[in-house]
Symmetry: C2
Subunit: 182 residues, 2 copies
């Protein structure tokens, strides 16, 4: 909206955008503190800042990538992470042919260096290694102090309760399509 040059937006316009009731928007926002002015609506600049704060996306998050194969390379090159404040600042692999190579200004390191992450303020990681290596990699990340993991490997990984894991499977995304096709 701010890209379209608007400076404020009403709760009913926001409600249309996300298909809920306007009172739901007002209720949810007032839970976190009142950002709006009656009759005028919400200042877009300030609203975006508040939402980022609520979702804890208001600081830059340093992220490590483990596995720089096909998927890992596509992830390293992807420009979409910056929008949410993520920066891939470390990449690891166990293939000697890849170690030392620079991708997007980040040099690929040997997986044995993973335990240095704690000293580098990296608290999130992406796993893009083959299935059989995924659990070992997850264990090493937990030991290194990582708190959140995005797991692409088809294997369910087991970690302590306080570590958050989100597993991605693009096959389930593709599987949503047939239902809509006549």
């Amino acid at each position: 909206m701010s890209r379209q040059g608007l400076s404020s937006v009403s709760s009913s316009k926001l409600a249309d955008f996300v298909s809920v009731n306007p009172w739901q928007i007002r209720k949810d926002f007032s839970y976190f503190g009142d950002f709006g002015t009656r009759g005028v609506g919400y200042d877009i600049e300030n609203l975006a800042k508040q939402i980022k704060k609520i979702l804890k996306l208001d600081t830059t998050r340093k992220t490590a990538l483990v596995g720089v194969g096909n998927l890992g390379s596509a992830i390293m090159a992807y420009t979409g992470f910056g929008t949410y404040g993520f920066q891939i600042t470390a990449a690891f692999d166990n293939d000697p042919a890849k170690i030392g190579r620079k991708m997007n200004d980040v040099a690929v390191e040997n997986i044995s260096m993973l335990d240095t992450l704690g000293k580098r303020q990296v608290d999130m990681a992406i796993i893009a290694v083959p299935e059989q290596a995924a659990q070992d990699v997850a264990d090493a990340l937990v030991r290194a102090g990582v708190k959140g993991i995005l797991n692409f490997s088809p294997r369910r990984i087991v970690v302590p309760k306080k570590i958050k894991v989100i597993t991605i499977d693009i096959a389930t995304d593709l599987a949503r399509l047939p239902y809509y096709i006549p």
Copy 2:
């Protein structure tokens, strides 16, 4: 569950698995026809078949991939598609160095051959090309008779209303993590 050797399951066990109420499970399934036996529960083999039918995943779906770069290569090699009945049977690119190469038993074709998809019963496609090529590729897929598109490019693509598009952004998946990290 069938992998664990169970032959039937109760609505309350299913309910725990997906965190809803048992009556919700019974109500949803009875909408599509009754599969369960009172007191015994649901036969797992039959239930899995019925669910696949409801979601239209009971037939093999031939899928085309456009763009065989880093992301495309990882998608070609991914074994997860088979579980939902998807098979990547065609792959296209515009890079002469890739055209003719075989990946997972599928030969990469020149993007100019895209219009042959209609005659090959391919009604779904995955877009993994750079942002600036995505809309042209989407237009060519619609002309070739494709009905559903999984779009990885960061650009919003515009297609006729009857074509279903699902856009993937792994950055939004990663962005779900910070909220859970203390």
